[in-house]
Symmetry: C2
DNA sequence: GCGTCGTCAAGAGCACTGCTCTCGTCGGTT
DNA sequence: AACCGACGAGAGCAGTGCTCTTGACGACGC
């Protein structure tokens, strides 16, 4: 959804033909930009290079995006969308399995996407570009994966309600959940508002930690911080995912 | 340690006076560069701007650093050093306390440094710059914090040996450590070689996960991914650190 | 049908970037 | 004293984001 320059209400007739070709060209621009981004990374994304490939003057591009940052924002939204599609599909494929399997599917979905789209991943989860502040358009697409994790948590909470007081096996959460629950609930108030109500604070906190961990692991690998540290990245990642599932109390 | 252009062996006399002013100017350059980096971020670090501030022609700077990347590398090494100093000092201050306290000190040390040096943090832990491949000079400084964590693990292993067979309290590691230990040991072979020998594979894996998690948490916060998610970042981070300590089996 | 207005593409131009090459100078060595 | 290496300055190249102006074309009201 590329940022429209001006979306005021024109006469109904003109919004058909002209708007249509405008939309088409806007899409062509983001397509080329996405390809350049995938090949060379965000830092070397050049408005002029895109214009060159499209056979038009660079100045013409500024009729469609007010500046380079707006183009980057469109790519960020696209990237979040692509990641969301991929991960949601991966989870849907095992949606009827147990929660541990679904968690694993989400983790591997994120990692797979990052491995095939490293520059897009860096764009959305790497260092923010210097003066850049993420506009509001990005928060919706950005929260798709967290929301998916939230629905996992909700399902966990629902099943825990079914068989509440009789299980205290080795898979139970190992930590002491009691004392500072109020302070924790306060700190997590914003995210609680966006999550299903069934999720208790303690579970939400563990889910947030799992998400933090997943992001850390994928970023470590994508940004090359595991060179000379871990040999078999596949095995290591899978091992990690299972361990975190244990820590989440998924077994 | 700015990359020297040519370190061949000249006559002993010339290496005194000339080399001295050369070193001084090199240091002045990195000082100004570090200030610019801290203020505006790596992406907008300009060789010309640095030269302007130093009152010299931009071309003269290329006598000291072959290109912008080399200057960035020097800043990366500096940043790792600064982070290492800070975290090691934080740990030293509580070095006689128990392992949980030391772990907490390391975590807060990393986070404090990231909060006061966000651009430096982004430089070393954010998305790598496009064509840039970290040269070998960086791996030493980069591994100071991991090595510090490794020494924590070694101390844990030593104390666990003391009182081995009699504790199975609620603080014991919750996961099943047995089956795939060989595959895990293989995957972690590189990092095992750099760590103290006393650390068993299972503990090393948990330590690596803790480090992954710490990096994920600090990056989330530094890169702004917790806006609208967590209100009280201090409380949340401290809570997380304790939870991970539990998962590590530190209590 | 005609004039008008809005939209669009193109070109020139500005200020900036990293980097190279050349040229004059000056310091230390032989 | 002569030489040679290191050095700084300047011009210049190719590239960047972005602005402003100009000219054309299409859709609209009269």
């Amino acid at each position: 959804m590329p940022v429209p320059l001006d979306d005021d209400t024109r006469t109904p007739a003109s919004r058909t033909a002209r708007e249509r070709v405008r939309r088409e060209l806007t899409r062509e621009i983001t397509d080329v930009a996405r390809r350049h981004l995938a090949e060379a990374g965000a830092a070397s994304l050049s408005v002029r290079a895109i214009a060159r490939e499209l056979g038009m003057a660079s100045s013409a591009l500024f009729r469609y995006f007010p500046n380079r940052d707006a183009l980057l924002t469109a790519l960020i939204v696209d990237s979040y969308g692509s990641l969301g599609d991929h991960v949601e599909a991966a989870e849907r494929a095992v949606h009827d399995a147990d929660v541990a399997t679904r968690w694993s599917a989400v983790c591997h979905g994120v990692r797979d996407w990052a491995r095939t789209h490293p520059h897009e991943y860096a764009l959305i989860y790497g260092s923010p570009v210097p003066g850049y502040a993420a506009p509001q358009d990005t928060v919706g697409p950005a929260s798709r994966v967290p929301l998916l994790l939230g629905s996992l948590l909700a399902d966990m909470a629902a099943r825990a309600d079914d068989r509440r007081p009789d299980d205290a096996g080795p898979g139970a959460p190992p930590a002491a959940p009691a004392p500072e629950d109020d302070a924790l609930a306060g700190a997590l108030a914003p995210v609680r508002a966006t999550m299903p109500d069934e999720v208790p604070v303690d579970l939400l906190a563990r889910g947030l930690m799992a998400w933090t961990f997943l992001f850390g692991a994928v970023s470590f690998e994508t940004f090359g911080h595991l060179h000379g540290v871990v040999d078999d990245l596949d095995a290591w990642f899978d091992h990690e995912v299972h361990r975190v599932a244990d820590a989440l109390g998924l077994r």
